[in-house]
Symmetry: C2
């Protein structure tokens, strides 16, 4: 079948599956995002395995381009936009006050999973280099799923929300430092790694340069672009300008800084939130996220889970997942708790930091390519990363005190947004 | 460079280029859409040729997937959504009354370009089969560019607007009949075509079946889906339901009916317009079209123009373009004029039918593959198709009587929407 036909039908089906599963989850008291993730898992290789249907076989005319590859790209655009919205909804004042606890939370959340997973892997008989690398893969949080859960719970503007988002940005930086360090130091694949410290230095310099330019030039640039756009002829030029900034900073973060693209689009959202266009941009970007890019992203995450990779290694997987979860909850939680945050809020921060994402998956594939991870270990750690995503929405919901949620509902005037 | 990086930067750049060029065009009194098309033409192979930059070389990791291919897909999604919005904005009562003039307009607009272009091509020394096929390529209107121009001029709900859209749907059907007939009858590539009438019969039966199910099941299905979606938990479920219908009918039109996908999404928009969700869906889908998918689509159309294909054949090209333009203006115009439409409105309909699009390009590539078009002729007819798109927004604007536009502006309370 023609690629364009595959895409049209798949978009229709994924939107339908996401919204139905989300609504169903909401009705039985589970988070909507969890429903969307599970819908994807059901369609993926764990159960129905839609991409392997003959129907989706790549047509010769499309070259090697498959519908699966196209949806990976749409999902990527979705997560960039999702984090832009998360930035829009972040309370900047709370964020500024959150830097100190966020830093310690991020540090704890990197140290504990790294140490824990390395020890578990070593205990399971892996070599030290492989064990340490596996630990590294499990350090990087990807906060998009928590961000969506917070939006649904209307807690994006709360104190734990702000700490969580700040910690996620810092975690992105720490995770990359650890990854660069490990790749630089750990002997792998028989290659002699020349000048490890120099390449680490370069990586740090790139990150520093990138963040300096973003924090220094980002806000005035954003303000200027939005202001000029308001005087342009044409429809929705303001939103177009905001999206321009989001994609530009996403590119800048990944290209100049070697960081995750979503760190850039998150900061872009934060800067746009500081302009007078904040309200309108938020109102206008919301429908596109929640009806199109968001569902496609969350279903795609679920689609990549393959539980069959666990056959014969379920014990190891379960232990690794436990470490991945507890490492963040305890590591981040303690980091926050020792910086003036209440116990309950610290737990929320810790739980919110559980999800891993593209950074972990990229690190794992680097390890596979460099011979630092065996193919079998690679497949399992990918499932751990995705399983951590699946458990988060539920845990996050129960981590919030009931009265906080009730207050948010009351102020929004209905039950519709609780999900 | 990594594909994901290419995509992030290109989206940022294309949005910026589209909005700046559109605003510039608006400021000097030209249509905004024309500016976006020209921005694309400037970035494409005619001038800057961005896809050939070393920067955009496909990375080995992405297989044969290039940034160019990804943007073709995003543009495809854009035009599907654009025609959905055109359906939302169509006045259904006017449309019903417009069926008779629209039918004759469509018929005239198929007959004249077919005859004219065939004669021009024959006069230029092409064989009869090649000449007739070239005429066929120039029959199919693609109304997305006119639709966007009408939206900008706030004339989508006008009488000529309704005739234009109805004629475009009918034209899609007629164009496919002609294409099937020509492929079935004209001898080509030394192949013996078995049972030409039977394959034509099958094509017509598919179309009939598809349209019957769309017109019979489409409205109640749409109403039911939208109604159910309003009771679902989750955010923007109504818009998601509307988009589901749009992509589903687009798929159905192309797969079952062998028609253009945009015919399906246009009808979906029409059906959604008949539900109580009409206002909200329109309001919510607008920003996503005008800030993201629309600019990407219009720039992409411009990006595929390659004026260098005309070297040495400019006279032939100019004549063909003239026939492509006058064939629609006169053919459609007369068809409308003889069915009770004023002269001025008939011209608007004729001009609005000028743009060709994906159906023409697909027909051309079928001809190339079947040996019915020489590679040289193919390259030129592609430029004719795209050039017809470039001239439409300007002509359409001047075709409307000034006082009609002034009234639309007055009722919208400002100059901002005129573009």
């Amino acid at each position: 079948m023609d690629l364009s036909l595959q895409i049209l039908l798949t978009i229709a089906m994924l939107i339908l599956a996401a919204k139905l599963a989300g609504a169903l989850a909401g009705r039985v008291g589970l988070p909507v995002v969890l429903g969307e993730l599970l819908a994807g898992a059901l369609l993926g290789p764990s159960a129905l395995n839609i991409w392997s249907l003959r129907w989706f076989a790549a047509s010769p005319a499309a070259g090697s381009m498959s519908a699966e590859a196209v949806f990976k790209i749409l999902a990527q655009l979705g997560v960039v936009l999702l984090m832009f919205v998360a930035g829009l909804e972040t309370n900047a004042d709370l964020l500024r006050k959150a830097v100190a606890p966020a830093f310690w939370a991020a540090l704890g959340g990197v140290a504990l999973p790294l140490a824990g997973a390395s020890l578990v892997a070593r205990g399971a008989g892996l070599s030290w280099p492989e064990a340490i690398f596996l630990g590294t893969v499990l350090t990087a949080t990807s906060v998009a799923i928590s961000a969506q859960s917070l939006m649904n719970l209307q807690q994006m503007g709360s104190k734990p929300g702000a700490i969580l988002l700040a910690a996620a940005v810092i975690d992105d930086i720490l995770g990359l430092i650890v990854l660069s360090l490990v790749i630089a130091i750990v002997p792998h694949g028989g290659q002699s790694v020349a000048l490890p410290w120099r390449s680490l230095g370069i990586a740090l310099a790139r990150m520093g340069l990138c963040l300096a330019t973003i924090f220094w030039l980002g806000p005035p640039l954003t303000r200027w672009v939005i202001q000029r756009s308001q005087r342009l002829r044409g429809l929705h030029t303001e939103l177009a300008a905001a999206l321009f900034v989001a994609f530009l900073l996403a590119f800048h973060a990944q290209w100049t800084g070697g960081m995750a693209a979503i760190t850039g689009s998150y900061l872009a959202g934060l800067f746009v939130a500081g302009t007078p266009a904040h309200g309108r941009v938020t109102r206008e970007v919301y429908p596109m996220i929640h009806s199109f890019f968001g569902p496609l992203f969350f279903v795609s995450v679920g689609l990549s889970v393959d539980v069959w990779q666990l056959r014969g290694h379920f014990g190891f997987f379960a232990l690794l997942l436990l470490v991945a979860i507890l490492g963040k909850v305890i590591g981040c939680g303690l980091g926050a708790r020792f910086n003036g945050i209440t116990a309950r809020e610290s737990i929320v921060v810790g739980v919110g930091m559980i999800p891993r994402g593209e950074v972990g998956l990229i690190a794992a594939s680097i390890g596979l390519a460099a011979g630092l991870l065996a193919r079998e270990t690679y497949a399992q750690v990918v499932v751990v990363v995705l399983a951590a995503d699946l458990v988060t929405p539920g845990l996050l919901r129960f981590a919030f005190p009931k009265d906080t949620l009730a207050r948010a509902v009351a102020s929004s005037g209905g039950m519709d947004h609780i999900a």
